[in-house]
């Protein structure tokens, strides 16, 4: 078989294998129309799971790795610029807060060394870059009488989630009386989660931890801290922002 015949076969194989279903075509348009022209938060063509009494109405999915190809020799600033090309600087998401759908404008923030990006609701929260971890905190800060409310994003370079979970759980058990077993989840991020709770009062401290694979033999550990009464408020908002967390990966040749 000569090269031209081979090219023809590849083309025909692809044409045959990728036939378009008219119903899909129509459904995709309906979803686009709904999101752009009616202001609805219609879900994507895939089935979306409901988690912990809130509905993700945005069509995007959990912590997704974006390939930023061919940047191995480019300096950090070029990577940041490329990220800004690929991601909208801001977007509107619809989230379910305490049973009510709420549209929020969220803004793009780059994490440490531009290894991840996350969209933050900057009307309510600030993104603070730290030496070892970044934090999302209420802005303006809460009154003194409230327990800590924050979401910390930390990268652990040398331990995969499966190796880290027990360690983190043991630490939580020193701090909290009620710690759940690790649970595998795919929303708002794909990985493991568990929760620690101090007690049953409105201001009992609560921590929720997500551990996800950073795709470089390590992990991202996301620690949300709030209090029991704030679970459906700050807790839900943190989860919605986490749903807009993306790992940035450079693709090797």
């Amino acid at each position: 078989m000569d090269a031209r015949d081979w090219d023809k076969k590849i083309e025909q194989a692809l044409n045959q294998g990728t036939r378009v279903d008219p119903e899909t075509r129509e459904n995709v348009w309906n979803n686009i129309e709904s999101r752009l022209y009616t202001g609805g938060g219609k879900e994507s063509t895939s089935h979306m799971k409901r988690k912990r009494n809130f509905i993700r109405l945005a069509a995007s999915v959990a912590a997704i790795v974006i390939l930023v190809a061919g940047l191995n020799t480019q300096p950090g600033l070029a990577l940041v610029n490329r990220i800004r090309e690929l991601f909208d600087p801001e977007k509107n998401i619809t989230q379910d807060i305490e049973g009510t759908p709420e549209e929020r404008n969220v803004k793009l923030n780059e994490g440490k060394d531009a290894e991840y990006v996350i969209y933050v609701d900057e009307e309510r929260y600030g993104f603070v870059r730290g030496e070892d971890a970044d934090r999302i905190v209420p802005n303006p800060p809460l009154e003194e009488r409230y327990p800590e409310v924050s979401m910390e994003i930390r990268q652990v370079n040398d331990k995969k989630p499966e190796a880290l979970i027990e360690e983190i759980q043991a630490k939580l058990q020193q701090e909290f009386s009620d710690v759940t077993a690790p649970e595998k989840v795919d929303q708002p991020v794909s990985g493991w989660t568990f929760r620690g709770l101090e007690g049953g009062k409105w201001d009992s401290r609560l921590v929720r931890v997500y551990v996800i694979d950073n795709r470089k033999e390590g992990s991202f550990v996301i620690t949300q801290r709030y209090f029991l009464e704030a679970e459906e408020g700050h807790g839900a908002r943190f989860d919605h922002m986490l749903g807009e967390f993306y790992i940035v990966e450079e693709q090797a040749e």
Binding site: L14, N15, Q16, V20, T24, I32, S44, A62, E253
Partner: protein, 182 residues
């Protein structure tokens, strides 16, 4: 035609955006299906692409060709969604609602070849899909994928050789040649 449409869309003309969709939807769905190997993911990718196109049209340079810009966004969306789901190459995915019938000889060859394409690593499969479904040149693909043109050329060359080898390895099997997974 694209330029006029784009101007009208920028002015908020919904009918023009629908027209753009009609022009690009089939090609986009085919390409996304070829890249992701999953029709649902493909639908999601195309949906997100058109939304991103609509929202970022102001940043599009009207002096440049629209198609490569569009497909750059689409390939990025496909990559994004692929990272969520593990890819599976399964003969079952090639079956339609009627099931996996034994087809005529010609159809069988294309099924095996399509499966072979789907089994390629992303870095090889994406250029193959862009070239053979959309007819992009190596230069255009380099722009879409953010790669050096020689890299694109090399990957296409390797992909075609890999496909040949995969197909040669599969010759002589009976029926649809159910390879299964792994």
């Amino acid at each position: 035609m694209d330029i006029q449409l784009i101007r009208e869309i920028k002015n908020g003309n919904k009918d023009s955006f629908k027209e753009l969709y009609e022009i690009y939807a089939d090609g986009a769905l085919r390409t996304a299906t070829g890249i992701t190997g999953d029709r649902q993911l493909a639908g999601d990718a195309v949906q997100e692409t058109f939304i991103r196109v609509y929202r970022n049209l102001d940043s599009f340079d009207i002096g440049k060709p629209f198609k490569p810009w569009f497909y750059r966004i689409l390939t990025n969306e496909c990559s994004r969604l692929l990272r969520k789901k593990p890819r599976m190459v399964s003969l079952n995915r090639m079956c339609d609602e009627q099931g996996c019938q034994v087809a005529d000889r010609e159809r069988e060859d294309y099924t095996d070849l399509y499966n072979a394409i789907k089994s390629l690593k992303d870095i090889y499969r994406v250029p193959v899909v862009l070239k053979y479904l959309q007819g992009f040149s190596e230069k255009e693909m380099a722009g879409i994928l953010g790669l050096n043109q020689n890299t694109v050329k090399s990957r296409l060359f390797k992909a075609r050789n890999m496909l040949r080898k995969k197909l040669e390895a599969g010759e002589g099997r009976i029926g649809l040649g159910r390879k299964g997974l792994g």
